[in-house]
Symmetry: C2
DNA sequence: TTGAAAGCGCTAACAG
DNA sequence: CTGTTAGCGCTTTCAA
């Protein structure tokens, strides 16, 4: 087995407590004692047993992050940002993926991997209000992605309606008027998809245009293939859109593929805007205009929320958020529109 | 606090040990006693404290997986596969990313996150033989990605040389002869990049062609931008290649972008083959021919190796591997060439 | 088949 | 400033 505090104590001829004090940088230790103990530590190659420490303190130093799918670059990039943000607070991240399936999301929120984690950051897709109400687990939970819960959980998102309106406004400003929304989800409410659809509708209406259902295309999932088939369905239905606003980048890219197969030029015939700003969008034959959420801020805020709850200091909502029911915080991260070839054309070399 | 074994024992009027027996499905417990204890467990909502259990047993049930970059879809997809494979063995995965930086890789291999993990799966980029020799940590380590170590660590990879030869052979079969290798790394040995370059050279030579250095382009990194700039550099140098074999898919896609900017058609003027088979390659304007490593097998083998070492049963190397120094196993996963538009042209609708 | 007790390695009171 | 002691919740001898 590995060396323990006791071994070090014996070696240094002091008590366990003293060694512990040194290890934990307890202030009131004489320099002489400290160096003596330190030498024993070095000689024995002592390293604290975190499991024991955690048992004692009741915490593990591990946060879980559950996203729908790691294969989606947006979530992969977000996960990377969360890992880095957690490291700054001396937390380690345990990653999980739910496939966006409600059953799996419920499992995770209930603390499936629990007992091992201090807190949980969850990016739900299908999770319902009632699932959260039934949650019986004391680890702090922070939700990612906007939804209209009135539940006592901290909650971090960009303003999806505003972001969608920004995207649509951009298209309108380019003189487009038949703008398809690709990636609606009809079987659930409260999801980002619904909010983006709402933004699409609001902006069209504000411009004095109609927002017919024939321009709203549902998708079964959120990947390239889903965007491709939805786009094909719209065209096959005889629609002649002059622009597409997609739920996310993979859907937008799948759609562009189909447009080009059908001989439609992007952006001349059909302009396309995506959502998420994944790196893939920066290097296609036609680079993708997209809404870029501030992933690093999202990650930082999420980790901060969990850590503060853990410390028992929920703190004020701050300037960037409002306090909701049960002291839950609604935090907003920024977003911006990144204009690339799929809307404004041009052919900048290896555009950024 | 949560309920402990003791609480359950009191409630059921039995000893702690008996409750423990029930929880752990110890065989010799009378059905009557079992159901009585089980009722107490249910009533109190008891859940075992894993930290305590782990302290006692000396294991945590957590495996770490360290990859260079989660933002690279290949590693994100691989990570997902590892998480699933680990779950089958009741292990949880803690994810880390090293940025492919040697210092970070050394840190991780030394057990930076250690004391918390039972085993480690590492996909190194810059890690050197000597770093591993100096490793002083008892958690089993499994290496991902082929390299020519003679070190006592299990090791899982596809045959990079053979894969590269397959790719180049495909291009030669299409009548191409000036095949650029994009993504060489000159500053290190022992890396997959070196092996793929070797395969490229071997296949060209076998075909009676020369393999001039002017057709080998180094890249600073492994992303789209690196492929784009390397491709541009080759063209700017006055080379007129009729094919490109890229170290990985992002590099290949970055290169295709530049080719198209320069008015070169893919595959008519320049055929392109990538490596990794990331989903992005299936939906560009021109879908990407690529080498597809069997990620699920890699993940499954890696987890199996760690778990077996943990159980102290390294087992035979099996039919798919050979035993190396110190009983280390060299396991091979399969790969296959996926032919798409970037080499064979065509315009199948939303090709798979 | 079940109970009692020891102890994994650490931290936190409380003494000294 | 440092030592003693008592657990955190669990598994695991060893008895009964």
């Amino acid at each position: 087995m590995s060396v323990s505090l006791k071994d070090v104590a014996e070696r240094a001829g002091v008590s366990i407590k003293t060694v512990s004090n040194v290890v934990n940088n307890y202030p009131h230790v004489t320099p002489a004692m400290r160096s003596r103990v330190q030498r024993a530590i070095d000689e024995l190659g002592y390293r604290p047993n975190l499991t024991a420490r955690h048992l004692r303190k009741g915490r593990t130093g591990i946060l879980a992050l559950a996203v729908p799918e790691l294969g989606n670059p947006y979530f992969a990039e977000l996960a990377g940002a969360v890992i880095d943000a957690a490291a700054e607070h001396d937390y380690t991240v345990l990653l999980d993926h739910t496939g966006g399936r409600r059953a799996q999301e419920v499992l995770v929120s209930q603390g499936f991997r629990a007992q091992v984690i201090d807190g949980l950051i969850l990016s739900p897709i299908e999770l319902e209000r009632e699932d959260l109400l039934a949650r019986d687990h004391d680890a702090p939970l922070v939700l990612l992605g906007e939804r209209e819960y009135d539940l006592p959980y901290d909650h971090i998102a960009i303003d999806n309606v505003a972001a969608a309106r920004t995207a649509v406004r951009h298209l309108l400003g380019l003189g487009r008027s038949r703008i398809v929304f690709l990636g609606a989800r009809t079987d659930r409410v409260n999801q980002p998809s619904q909010l983006r659809l709402r933004g699409w509708r609001a902006e069209l209406t504000a411009a004095g245009l109609t927002a017919p259902d024939s321009l709203v295309a549902a998708t079964g999932g959120w990947e390239h293939a889903d965007g491709a088939s939805a786009m094909a369905a719209v065209l096959d239905a005889g629609e002649r859109p002059d622009a597409v606003f997609a739920y996310n980048d993979p859907i937008a890219i799948g759609a562009m593929r189909v447009l080009s197969e059908r001989g439609l030029r992007v952006p001349e015939d059909v302009a396309v805007v995506g959502f998420d700003d994944i790196s893939e969008g920066r290097y296609g034959a036609v680079t993708l205009t997209t809404i870029s959420p501030d992933k690093h801020t999202i990650a930082r805020l999420a980790v901060r929320c969990v850590v503060e709850r853990l410390r028992g200091e929920p703190g004020p909502a701050g300037t960037d958020g409002i306090t909701g029911p049960g002291g839950a915080r609604e935090l907003r991260a920024d977003f911006r529109l990144v204009e690339r070839e799929s809307t404004i054309g041009g052919r900048a070399r290896t555009a950024g």
